[in-house]
Symmetry: C2
Subunit: 333 residues, 2 copies
DNA sequence: CTGAAAGCGCTTACAG
DNA sequence: CTGAAAGCGCTTACAG
């Protein structure tokens, strides 16, 4: 059997309510007593029973994160940040890879205080039956979940892509390609494509000079494959904007393997704003919401709606930031 | 506020203990009453409070899985199987990517009934302080966790690799390479290398004819990179054994991209026994513990030690199975 | 500053 | 077959 506050109380010769207070840093207990109790708890390897705590306090101090997989680097990074941000506020984070409906049900039973949903990777999930819940939910982008206490935190993707085009055009590039997942089923990917097109139009590029190469997905291998196709292209662009970190990594590898010099032969700007972009073979210029801020804002949004007990809906859109690195230069370089 | 059994009881005009029994399919309650209560619960969207359940029943019906990431396909597949196997027995599975010490502490607080640990991917974790727990733990391979109720479930990797060599030698191949993560820090990878060497020795291959190409890691890109190196090799092997699914996928792509025909120019056998191997560009012969059985055995081992209340330690080693597919043929083909 | 009491939502003997 | 009671481990007014 596990150690309980009653065990500690018996050994310390106090009542167990005093132990409870001591362990929760209540000012109501004498410093001396508290120290003794805390030390005893440590020695006994006491871990509070979250079930009991949550039952009486009506909060579990637990947040559930529903995610499709950890296959994308940028996603793993973001989950890590969310975890850190919530841990700072004393929340535990648990993950589930169950289908949305089951995951939400599990989270309800566990009485989590909040839920974070990544819709991003599973467009199929849209077909899943709608789940309604009173638990505060933060969704990254839109969601099929209908909650009465609901926030969307998202990145201004369009602006990000527009900014990337403007930046490269400003460096004198006239032929620019967007390479990323351009499947129509995923609205977020479509936003990036739209932003790219708008940016190209605004910069006076013609349809022939600014074009989209659909990688068909956002993994390393999609990027690598797209990179190989890029190498064989007639009239290769002088600059490329990639739609996600893993695509960038794969494409960069393909380009370097193919004998292309980056940035000399090809300038590169990547969507996703994570430190890993600086650690690639060539440090890559990033555009997007910086992951630290992104994770922080997700955590904040969740804590916000958790603090509020009434129904609430809000949206936060993070501004894109472009961070210059060595991967893009003036053309002709 | 969420719906509780008291709410249901009031609306149904019965005591809440009757509701509890009805909802738990107790034979002590009249079929008629039960049906009425169950229907009412459904209508109200009742979800049982796991905290309360776990507090009184002393079991949470929850299993924690501690994993470093979901980056490897074979690992994701295995986690999925474990989840299914445990769900069948009524257990919920929650994941954590916290550092081992923190994850175990969280699982203790959540009062999970069992823990599954994947040591595999993080050799660094060995340096982490040892964690002792009374919660039943199943580790895939050895672990730095010291529990009093502990089981190891693992694959006979050596045998698997030996079998792969024997199979290819039996097909007439004389030059065979093992390509996979051969870093010395990871004992599991070392086992595969050792099995390969033993198999080569037993089949009478010389050191020049059977060699190891260290991919330096087990991801797709490690496999792809190794595949490119393979293409440039003088005296290329006629058959290759790869050490993990993602390595196989990357290497196969590199080989096909490089103009090599599989299996005509190169026979291929992959470690890891997952259905995804059949879905690659060329269906690949697998050797290892079939993932269904693997997941099932992990779940069984955990349920076993969970059923037993005393201290217990046991090891299960799964036999490797070789499943023939189109990727390997007789040499000269 | 400390302790006794009530109660969180549930299950499970026990009595009827 | 149904209900009243005790209790799981904890927190939190409330009394002292």
């Amino acid at each position: 059997m596990n150690v309980t506050i009653k065990d500690i109380a018996r050994l310390a010769g106090v009542s167990y309510s005093t132990v409870s207070k001591a362990l929760n840093d209540s000012p109501l207990v004498k410093t001396d007593t508290r120290r003794r109790i805390v030390e005893l708890a440590r020695q006994l390897g006491y871990e509070p029973n979250l079930a009991a705590k949550s039952l009486v306090s009506r909060r579990s101090m637990t947040v559930g994160v529903l995610l499709p997989s950890l296959e994308r680097v940028a996603l793993s990074a973001l989950v890590g940040r969310i975890n850190d941000a919530l841990a700072t506020r004393g929340y535990e984070v648990i993950l589930s890879i169950l289908p949305p409906t089951s995951a939400i049900r599990l989270f309800q039973r566990l009485q989590v205080d909040g839920i974070v949903v990544f819709e991003d990777i599973t467009p199929e999930a849209r077909h899943v039956e709608t789940v309604t819940t009173d638990i505060p939910v933060v969704s990254i982008g839109a969601s099929h979940l209908v909650g009465s206490r609901f926030a969307v935190v998202d990145v201004r993707r369009k602006d990000a892509l527009r900014e990337a085009v403007r930046y490269l055009a400003g460096l004198g590039h006239k032929r620019i390609a967007y390479i990323g997942d351009a499947r129509e089923s995923d609205s977020k990917q479509q936003e990036k494509v739209a932003g790219f097109m708008e940016g190209a139009f605004a910069c006076g590029l013609s349809a022939g000079d600014a074009f989209v190469l659909n990688s068909g997905g956002n993994t390393w291998r999609h990027g690598y494959d797209a990179g190989r196709r890029l190498l064989e292209l007639d009239g290769r662009p002088t600059a490329v904007i990639t739609g996600a970190f893993d695509v960038t990594a794969g494409l960069l590898r393909a380009a370097l393997d193919g004998g292309l010099r980056v940035p000399d032969d090809l300038s590169l700007v990547s969507y996703d704003h994570i430190p890993q972009l600086a650690e690639l073979d060539v440090p890559v210029t990033a555009v997007g919401a910086p992951v630290d801020a992104f994770g922080e804002r997700i955590a904040e949004a969740l804590l916000d709606i958790m603090a509020d007990s009434g129904p609430i809906r809000r949206e936060t859109h993070l501004d894109a930031v472009l961070e210059e690195r060595a991967s893009a230069v003036r053309f002709p370089g």
